[in-house]
């Protein structure tokens, strides 16, 4: 299944909505999108991942990349599926992002 990426930047908030599967082959497109939305130095990156059924190493690496590129960036994962949360916990990435059921207030 392919990955659909929708992105928008509004004030200090960057949003990316992902639908489908984020595997190694889809990662370059996402990375390009992240690069683009971070160019305006947003304060937060909100990833809508409710419809993301699978995230491989490549996807998580992009989150790390975003964090390393802009250490003060707050990354929100909105409604990730349990398997994705589980992977975040097992690999130690969970503490680096905010996992939430709703978009952060004021976003």
């Amino acid at each position: 299944m392919a990955l659909d990426i929708l992105s928008a930047v509004e004030a200090k908030t960057a949003r990316i909505a992902l639908t489908g599967e984020l595997d190694g082959s889809a990662a370059p497109a996402l990375r390009e999108t992240v690069d683009k939305v971070l160019s305006g130095k947003p304060a937060q990156l909100i990833l809508q991942v409710e419809r993301l059924s699978f995230m491989a190493s490549a996807g998580l690496r992009i989150l790390i990349f975003a964090k390393q590129k802009q250490p003060d960036l707050k990354i929100y994962l909105v409604k990730p599926r349990p398997a994705i949360v589980d992977t975040l916990r097992k690999t130690g990435f969970y503490d680096g992002v905010y996992v939430t059921d709703d978009e952060p207030a004021g976003a």
Partner: protein
């Protein structure tokens, strides 16, 4: 400033000069070996001294056929190193290997085969066995598939713990065996993540170092076979058969299928460190998974067979490992690979120490003869990156080289003390004439390590290889039929005693004696100078049903049964308090040998041996007592008096005078049922008499 940055990012030596099938590349950097991410590309570098040519083979992840093969142009080879930078690769979706062209001349040591794709000896990640025991496609042309690793893990300031060696208490465990049982009741049984969930258990037990059985990538399907009678699958469970030295075992990660084994393992190590627990890896550099001349072309054989392996004059493999081949560890190229590998694990994974399997092989020369000054062992001892990590040798090999007490140590190496294991086992089961040796073993084996100190002695009574402690006191002989080798595998000289009944029994007297014997063994282990090591599950009476060689048993025979934590709560309590007792008494953990004299003006020698009567050790008998003077510790500690009675009946032991102004209190009495078998601090019964009765096959420890 901006000009300098531009110069770094737009370096003229990072642009492509060649192209094949739309893939652009250029001459690379010879060092470092392996695949390294560089600006806009990946640098591939590999050594072969005897190949005629080399081809880089690039795959998209998990695809059977490569998307491109690029032969290294002649000008890309520097000396014996082939290197190139390939640009614009999808590094997350990449797998790579090599084909080498060269002579097929086994008598001369060459086994090149250009039809085979071989993996990189420096591969940091290996695919192909991503999920434990998922049956591989044996017809695929490339089985163990090299991938790239990314060093972007957030360690949050973690670093190696550097716990003083004298203070270590090691717990030997198997990643799968520790949590695979459904009784573990965790979310990711048998994985790095699963072990992480059990860290609170380890912490409450009191260990401060976990030694993990091999976790370098290996093939659990190697030598797979169904049991000839039962049909039960027999696989390579232990993993003493390395495929790739730089890559963690993907199948040990719950996220291995996602290619995230590196992150999951690092997360485990970070959490262990947060809990004050060091991580020691059991590493296997004595041989590889390629076996002898009948084995597969995975890597080394197809790259430079004559360099990587010790060969007979007619080109066959010397087998000092008992596993088909012997890595040529003291060849300078292989030696550097071992060094690079260990430096990588220390710097990238924050590993605190290594236990080297069949380490005596690391001291053999390129013809297999033992060296008096082995370059590899010396290099490891003095390596700056490894400068603070623990180095422990299994100081023997399968070729008959036995170096316990004589392993080339360079002031750094400790040894698995096999003589400690054998002596304590014989003493506990009641052999006579052991006391002289037992006195040495309790003191840290000065007879073996007088010039190295007691921390050269890693003391153990049981380990993965052999009986568990429960089975040591429950079986007179091994029961390895389940291994499918007609009970011919595994050691026959176990120095075990079944306490009167072979195997499991309902007899309360036999079981009570076994409980006591387990406590006796543990008490001696944790009173001894040196580094104590406990085998996974011994603290809850884990049994392997008499199997003393569970290398192929990935099932309940080998696994920790977590129901035992509840069922054997008394035994677990004993162990955790015993470990706490050792932590609380620094006089037990000295890093110098006792001198048998009063060194501090306390009026007593640092250690004095007695028999049932003070000052009269009966070296030919089965009873031994000793008094350790706490004033010899810095800062001062309690005095500790231990009375060990391995005679079958209770005996009276004279008690030495307590230190002035103090009274003796019972700390341990292995003849008593829980909870009177061990006491916290000064909560034990006071001993005012000049004599105590120590039960048959029991130990009493007093503190004052």
């Amino acid at each position: 400033m901006s000009t300098a940055r531009l110069a770094l990012e737009e370096r003229i030596d990072f642009y492509p000069t060649h192209e094949v099938s739309g893939v652009r590349f250029r001459r690379g950097r010879a060092l470092p070996f392996g695949a390294t991410i560089v600006p806009h590309g990946v640098n591939f570098s590999i050594f072969s001294s005897a190949a005629d040519s080399c081809t880089l083979v690039l795959f998209r992840k998990r695809e059977r056929e490569p998307f491109v093969e690029i032969e290294f142009p002649r000008e890309f080879r520097i000396g014996d190193v082939y290197s190139m930078i390939v640009f614009d690769l999808e590094v997350e979706n990449l797998e790579y290997g090599y084909r080498f062209s060269g002579p097929w001349d086994p008598r001369a040591g060459h086994r090149f085969d250009k039809t085979k794709v071989v993996c990189d000896p420096y591969a940091k990640v290996l695919g192909g066995r991503d999920v434990w025991c998922k049956r591989p496609d044996r017809s695929a042309p490339y089985q163990h598939r090299a991938r790239l690793a990314f060093d972007d893990f957030d360690w949050e300031g973690d670093t190696a713990l550097e716990i003083p060696t004298k203070d270590l208490i090691i717990y030997e465990a198997h990643i799968r065996g520790f949590t695979s049982s459904p009784t573990s009741k965790i979310s990711a049984p048998g994985t790095f993540a699963g072990l992480r969930e059990k860290i609170p258990y380890l912490k409450s037990l009191g260990i401060n170092c976990i030694e993990l059985l091999p976790l370098f990538e290996f093939d659990e399907w190697e030598n797979y076979r169904p049991h000839p009678e039962t049909g039960q699958p027999l696989i390579n469970y232990w993993g003493y058969s390395t495929v790739g030295f730089f890559a963690p075992k993907a199948g040990y990660a719950a996220t291995g299928g996602l290619g995230m084994q590196v992150d999951e393992l690092k997360n485990l190590i970070k959490e262990l460190h947060r809990s004050g627990i060091e991580v020691m890896l059991d590493v296997v550099f004595n041989h590889t998974a390629e076996g002898d001349e009948r084995g597969p072309h995975i890597c080394y054989r197809g790259i430079d067979n004559r360099t990587y392996y010790i060969l007979t004059p007619d080109g066959y493999y010397y087998n000092f490992s008992g596993c088909g081949n012997t890595l040529n560890c003291n060849h300078p190229v292989v030696r550097n690979m071992v060094l690079d590998c260990l430096r990588y694990w220390v710097s990238e994974y924050h590993i605190d120490g290594f236990r080297f399997d069949l380490a005596s092989i690391l001291g053999r020369d390129q013809n297999g003869a033992p060296l008096s000054n082995p370059p590899l062992l010396e290099s490891l001892a003095y390596d700056p990156v490894l400068g603070k990590c623990k180095l422990v040798a299994e100081a023997w090999d399968a070729g008959g080289l036995y170096q316990v007490g004589s392993f080339p140590a360079y002031g750094r190496w400790a040894e698995w003390n096999g003589k400690y294991r054998d002596a304590i086992r014989r003493f506990i089961k009641g052999d006579e004439g052991m006391l002289g040796e037992i006195a040495d073993r309790i003191q840290g084996s000065p007879d073996l390590y007088w010039y190295r100190g007691p921390t050269a002695s890693l003391n153990f009574i049981t380990c993965h290889d052999g009986f568990t402690l429960h089975d040591l006191v429950s079986y007179n002989r091994k029961y390895n039929e389940a291994n499918g080798e007609g009970n011919n595998d595994g050691a026959n000289d176990n120095n075990s005693w079944n306490c009167g009944w072979e195997g499991e029994t309902d007899d309360p007297c036999v079981n009570a004696l076994r409980e006591r014997q387990i406590r006796n063994a543990a008490t001696i282990l944790f009173l001894s100078r040196g580094i104590p090591m406990l085998l996974m599950g011994d603290e809850v009476g884990r049994t392997q049903g008499g199997n003393n060689n569970c290398y192929c048993q990935d099932n309940a025979v080998s696994w920790m049964n977590w129901d035992d934590v509840r069922k054997e709560a008394g035994l677990l309590r004993f162990f955790s308090k015993l470990l706490a007792f050792r932590h609380a008494h620094r006089v037990l953990r000295g890093d110098k040998f006792f001198e048998h004299r009063d060194c501090v003006g306390s009026g007593k020698p640092d250690i004095a041996f007695h028999g049932t009567r003070i000052g009269e050790p009966d070296w030919g008998g089965r009873c031994l007592a000793f008094l350790i003077c706490g004033k010899h510790a810095i800062p001062q500690d309690d005095d500790i008096y231990a009375a060990i009675n391995m005679f079958w009946d209770g005996l009276p032991f004279q008690v030495p005078p307590a230190p002035e102004g103090k009274s003796w209190r019972v700390a341990i009495n292995t003849s008593m049922p829980s909870p009177e078998d061990i006491y916290d601090g000064e909560s034990g019964p006071r001993v005012d008499s000049s004599e105590i009765i120590v039960g048959g096959r029991s130990i009493m420890v007093l503190v004052a």
